[in-house]
């Protein structure tokens, strides 16, 4: 029915190296993004003004109650994380700003808060892997 | 050879005039008109007027100067600075210079009037004025124009 194994041409990224810039301090999206870039054999390089530069904004997290447990305490939350991405080369703005968004839900069990807060951490890790793959797909679609 | 001479004027100084080209004198009735051509220069005290042609009208009987009319592309008027007043530069296609009794004050003081007619410009100190015609009274420094005018006042350094 027309499906073929994804070949390297449609999956590869049209550049071997990339500069990744984001706000200072801990930036949790960095690890899954490095792994996704490495899987598309792209290496990170230090800041220089010849290579492509992907600039990511700080994460914007929004937590919304979507269902309530029996004691009118929050039961299920929807967590949405969005970032802004821009692409530059030697200071020249190539693409963006693009907003990338991913979301998921998790339950908080009022009786076991510390247990369920790690549930939120696991969901955040999944959301960041999803954001990383969105970045890769968008980079593939950029015509350089 | 240029023509230069001194014409009596009943304001304090005499008028000197000269021109490169020839001149002609014509008397009609009590008015003798002297016409000068070619790089005309007319001076009275601090005032100098330049132009291409000039006509001086004198009262034959008293010898007084009635009116000087200078034309040029443009005719130019310069009044050099004195301790109390700044340099004045003016120009227009025709400059008419005459005396007139002062109508405001009753002391019968004689005022010397300069009329710039046709693309008149008048510059004194920080002010530069361009109008269709400008009338200037030397003694009071006053100027007047019916408009239309455009003026530029330079900023204080």
């Amino acid at each position: 029915c027309g499906f073929t194994l994804r070949g390297s041409e449609s999956a590869a990224l049209p550049f071997p190296t990339l500069i990744l810039s984001h706000p200072a301090g801990p930036y949790p999206l960095r690890a899954p993004l490095i792994e996704a870039l490495r899987a598309s054999n792209v290496d990170l390089v230090e800041n220089n003004n010849s290579d492509l530069q992907l600039v990511l904004s700080a994460e914007e997290q929004e937590r919304r109650t979507i269902s309530i447990n029996t004691r009118a305490g929050a039961g299920q939350y929807e967590l949405t994380v969005s970032i802004q991405a821009n692409l530059y080369r030697a200071g020249q703005h190539l693409a963006g700003p693009e907003t990338l968004t991913a979301s998921g839900t998790f339950y908080e069990d009022t009786a076991n808060i510390s247990g369920s807060s790690s549930g939120q951490e696991l969901l955040l890790a999944d959301i960041r892997r999803e954001l990383a793959s969105q970045v890769i797909r968008r980079l593939q679609a950029v015509s350089l | 050879a240029g023509l230069s001479a001194v014409a009596p004027s009943d304001s304090t100084e005499d008028i000197l005039y000269s021109a490169d080209g020839g001149g002609s004198i014509e008397t009609v009735g009590n008015v003798r008109t002297t016409t000068l051509r070619g790089n005309v220069r007319i001076q009275q005290g601090l005032i100098v007027i330049f132009g291409d042609t000039a006509t001086l009208e004198q009262d034959v009987s008293s010898g007084d100067l009635i009116r000087v009319t200078v034309e040029g592309e443009p005719a130019r008027f310069v009044r050099n600075a004195e301790d109390s007043a700044e340099t004045i530069n003016g120009s227009s296609t025709r400059i008419v210079y005459y005396n007139q009794t002062d109508t405001q004050s009753n002391s019968q003081v004689l005022l010397s009037v300069v009329e710039f007619q046709g693309q008149a410009s008048f510059t004194r100190g920080r002010t530069a004025l361009e109008c269709s015609q400008i009338k200037h009274i030397v003694e009071t420094g006053a100027t007047d124009s019916p408009g239309p005018c455009s003026g530029v006042l330079a900023p204080i350094e």
Binding site: G2, F3, L5, R6, G7, S8, S10, A11, A12, A24, P26, A31, I34, R38, A39, T65, I66, S67, I68, N69, T70, R71, A72, G73, G75, Q76, Y107, D109, T110, A111, N112, I113, S114, S116, S118, L122, L123, R137, R138, L139, V142 | A85, R126, T127, L129, T140, G141, A142, S145, P146, G147, P148, C149, S150, G151, V152, L153, A154, P155, I156
Partner: protein, 799 residues
């Protein structure tokens, strides 16, 4: 005639909606019918300051210089001084010695962003003071305009002073609100206004009078001033008026003080202080209600009684987030409150139903680079909910402290390895008299330390068309316990090997759907997990919980969070995902299905000697529930999200939800969601008479009726117990310069669980905001709308 009549002068800059160029049109709110637009400047010296530029004069009429530096024009004249241009209908006089320019007749005074018309003007170039009588003025950037008997404008400072002046931001023809003042000073540069002896007239009705000097913001810079008040009326609290006042103390710290009157409870004061150091952001929140009038000594100790447990109610919160140079991070989140119901009764600032279920007291110091993460944390979680807190055995353990170290290393060959380790001291103080002897024997008073070390190694092989990721992890943990359950060891340890093999193929084909060229992928995935079985029922559960089953859970190496339990597993997860990706790389649709096939029954559960817990996932089935999860957003203005968990063996739907979101460029919003979940509240029998199964509908809508009127509403209903969780309906009238909202709201009252006839919370909320007097973000009502209606965005002042 009112001062307003002399406005025609500035109407020369008014451009009605139909003549506005496109780029201005989309800045204009739908309720506005035009804008003051500044005509382009022309002239040779327009980039010069007036006192550095020559004064150019043009006139068709008489010009006189009776003396050398006195300059008169007798008729209509235009004057240009750098970027300032002036017009006078009958004459001007320029005195070069004093540098004072006097204009007569109808006068127009224009500077970039500013227009004044009036009768006569005197302008002193030396001190920059310009004065125009019976003036009308407009500031194009903020659209603020008005009139005054005498207007003074200092071109150096941009300060505008109005005697007996008026000021508004509404459309000039018939302004909805006007601020009149004996003396009005608008400091445009710093964005602040001062009005003395002020009257606020709304559609010509004097609503508010203030005899002294009132300071208010006029731009959007941070400036001290009154923020929009919020007014509401609810059954529990009665009339509730809060008027916040913002103090912009310095560029890096500010404060907001909010006096608040609640008719049934009394007067309250709350304050927020923010301090931005160069490496950290610090926020202190304090609130005090000295005497709550609803406090009833007799009933105070009766659970569920409709009275607060204490009379003096307060809240204190401190939050700190810092980055100390490369990789270091500090974080403090400390909250304390006088009683458990504080947020429900008084937390109306953000009006949300659940507000807070627990109070966090936490401090973190951590450092990380690309390979290492080192962290230290102290944390205490206090449960606010009385019902939960009263059964102490589930009070969360404090972490005093938790030290964590984890490393992640990559090698050129693709091999990855690392370690996650932690050492935590768990402690909690329980009231012994609340516990039975049996509970103590079962280890209710257990405290102790736990050391865990989990080295792992993985060899991911990723190619465009497929991936194979084998991973091995050894999960070792060792406890030092005291007061543990009878005949259970005081220093147990546990070492479990975990092996997982993740693999998947990625197929693609071009496809097109309603005109969009897309790539469809087909991604089958197999994930095998083997985790040794080891008896752990004797171990206490300090920080472990059962993870909720969903599509992502198929590919996790444990069904528990935390380190007190390692789920035994010998299973294979099989799943397939198909995505539709458009040419710009956006995922337009995704559908996934997956299931776990168990080769052995499971035996490790969360149960401990102290208590047994409801099983979220059966331990004896051969297959997990079939999980379906999908997103559909082919068109940009609506999106559908759904998921389902169907347990074939028992023919039972464990969980399901669908959420439809429609958003037409932020104006028309419609959200419809239904959620079903069978197993919740894992260990607790639900409070009596209540069905814990979640069957909840959440519908919300924002619909513009026309340019001025908008309706919005939410219906959030719990079908299991046929009770209303939150329902509100509201209407909003907004014209060009003000917004009025009225919302009637009815929301669940958690006391409802103890006696059936307790009434719902019901309240009317009113919000009235004048655009242009500071931004609209204040007020609890806007937080309610933003929080409860997905996609709702507050109006920005200048949009």
């Amino acid at each position: 005639a009112p001062l307003w009549a002399q406005q025609e002068g500035i109407m020369q800059d008014w451009v009605s909606r139909d003549q506005l160029p496109i780029e201005l049109l989309n800045q204009l709110r739908s309720a506005c019918c035009g804008l003051f637009v500044e005509p382009p400047l022309s002239g040779e010296y327009i980039d010069l300051d007036p006192d550095q530029a020559p004064t150019e004069i043009e006139t068709q009429t008489n010009v006189r210089q009776p003396e050398p530096n006195q300059f008169y024009v007798d008729g209509a004249v235009t004057v240009q001084q750098g970027y300032r241009s002036l017009i006078a209908s009958d004459g001007m006089h320029l005195d070069e010695t004093t540098n004072i320019l006097t204009l007569n007749g109808d006068v127009v005074f224009r500077e970039p962003g500013f227009l004044v018309t009036g009768q006569g003007a005197v302008m002193d170039q030396d001190n920059g003071n310009n004065q125009i009588d019976s003036a009308a003025y407009v500031m194009h950037e903020t659209q603020i305009h008005g009139s005054a008997q005498r207007l003074g404008y200092n071109s150096d400072s941009g300060m505008l002073t109005l005697e007996n002046g008026q000021f508004s931001r509404c459309e000039p023809m018939d302004p909805f609100w006007v601020m009149q003042a004996q003396n009005l000073r608008l400091d445009n540069e710093n964005g602040v206004g001062y009005a003395t002896d002020v009257t606020l007239r709304v559609s010509d009705i004097p609503l508010f009078y203030y005899p002294w000097t009132l300071q208010f913001p006029i731009g959007d810079q941070r400036v001290s001033g009154v923020l929009p008040p919020s007014l509401s009326n609810s059954r529990d609290g009665g009339i509730d008026l809060a008027v916040p006042y913002y103090f912009d103390l310095a560029p890096h710290y500010d404060a907001t003080l909010t006096p608040r009157i609640i008719s049934k409870r009394g007067a309250m004061l709350s304050g927020e202080f923010r301090y931005l150091a160069d490496w950290s952001m610090n926020t202190v929140n304090l609130a005090l209600l000295p005497k709550d009038d609803t406090y009833d000594e007799a009933l105070a100790s009766v659970p569920g009684a409709d009275t607060p447990t204490v009379s003096q109610r307060w809240f204190a919160g401190f939050e700190h987030e810092g980055q100390l140079g490369a990789g270091w991070r500090t974080y403090v989140d400390f909250n304390a409150v006088s009683d458990a119901d504080y947020f429900r009764d008084l937390g109306s600032r953000d009006l949300n139903v659940e507000s807070r279920t627990h109070l966090n007291k936490e401090g973190i110091l951590s450092w990380q680079n690309d390979n290492w993460q080192v962290g230290s944390r102290v944390q205490r979680i206090e449960i606010l909910d009385q019902y939960v807190a009263s059964i102490d055995i589930n009070k969360p353990f404090d972490r005093l402290p938790e030290l964590s170290l984890s490393g992640h290393f990559y090698t050129d060959s693709g091999l990855q390895y690392g370690i996650d380790s932690s050492h935590v001291r768990f402690d909690r103080s329980l009231s012994r008299q609340l516990l039975s002897a049996q509970q103590v024997d079962q280890g209710a008073l257990v405290t102790g330390e736990r050391f865990s070390a989990e080295p792992w190694i993985s060899m991911p092989l990723r190619r465009p068309g497929f991936f194979v990721v084998p991973t091995a992890r050894y999960r070792y943990a060792q406890w030092q316990l005291s007061n543990q359950a009878l005949d259970t060891p005081d220093n147990p340890d546990r070492g479990i090997g975990v092996f997982s093999l993740d693999s998947g193929l990625i197929f693609e084909r071009p496809v097109s759907a309603n005109g969009l060229q897309m790539t469809q992928t087909l991604e089958p995935r197999l994930y095998y997990l083997y985790s040794e079985r080891q008896e752990q029922q004797h171990l206490p559960t300090f920080d472990t919980a059962q993870l909720n089953f969903n599509f992502n859970q198929l590919f996790r190496y444990d069904r528990f969070s935390g380190q007190d339990r390692v789920g035994d597993a010998n299973q294979l997860s099989a799943a397939v995902t198909t995505r539709f990706i458009s040419e710009d790389g956006r995922e337009r649709a995704r559908l996934s299905a997956g299931q776990i096939f168990h080769f052995e029954d499971r035996s490790v559960s969360l149960d401990s000697p102290l208590q047994s817990w409801l099983l979220l996932q059966p331990m004896d089935t051969d297959r997990s529930a079939l999980v379906l999860d999908g997103v559909y957003q082919l068109a940009t203005d609506w999106q559908l999200r759904a998921d389902l968990q169907w347990d074939q063996e028992n023919g039972n739907i464990d969980e399901g939800s669908f959420a439809l979101r429609f958003n037409l460029n932020g104006e028309k919003l419609l959200n419809l969601a239904y959620r079903y979940r069978e197993r919740t509240d894992v260990f607790l029998q639900a409070p009596p008479l209540l069905d814990p199964v979640i069957r909840q509908t959440d519908m919300s809508v924002v619909w513009p009726v026309n340019d001025n009127w908008r309706v919005f509403g939410r219906w959030n209903y719990d079908h299991s117990n046929s009770r209303n969780l939150e329902t509100f309906a509201g209407v909003e009238y907004s014209n060009c310069c003000s917004t009025m909202r009225l919302v009637a709201r009815d929301w669940v009252n958690e006391y409802e669980f103890f006696d059936q006839n307790s009434r719902q919370n019901r309240g009317i909320f009113f919000q009235f905001t004048l655009l242009g007097l500071g931004d609209l973000t204040g007020g609890g009502l806007s937080n309610l709308l933003t929080r409860s209606i997905p996609g709702f965005k507050e109006y920005d002042v200048n949009d």
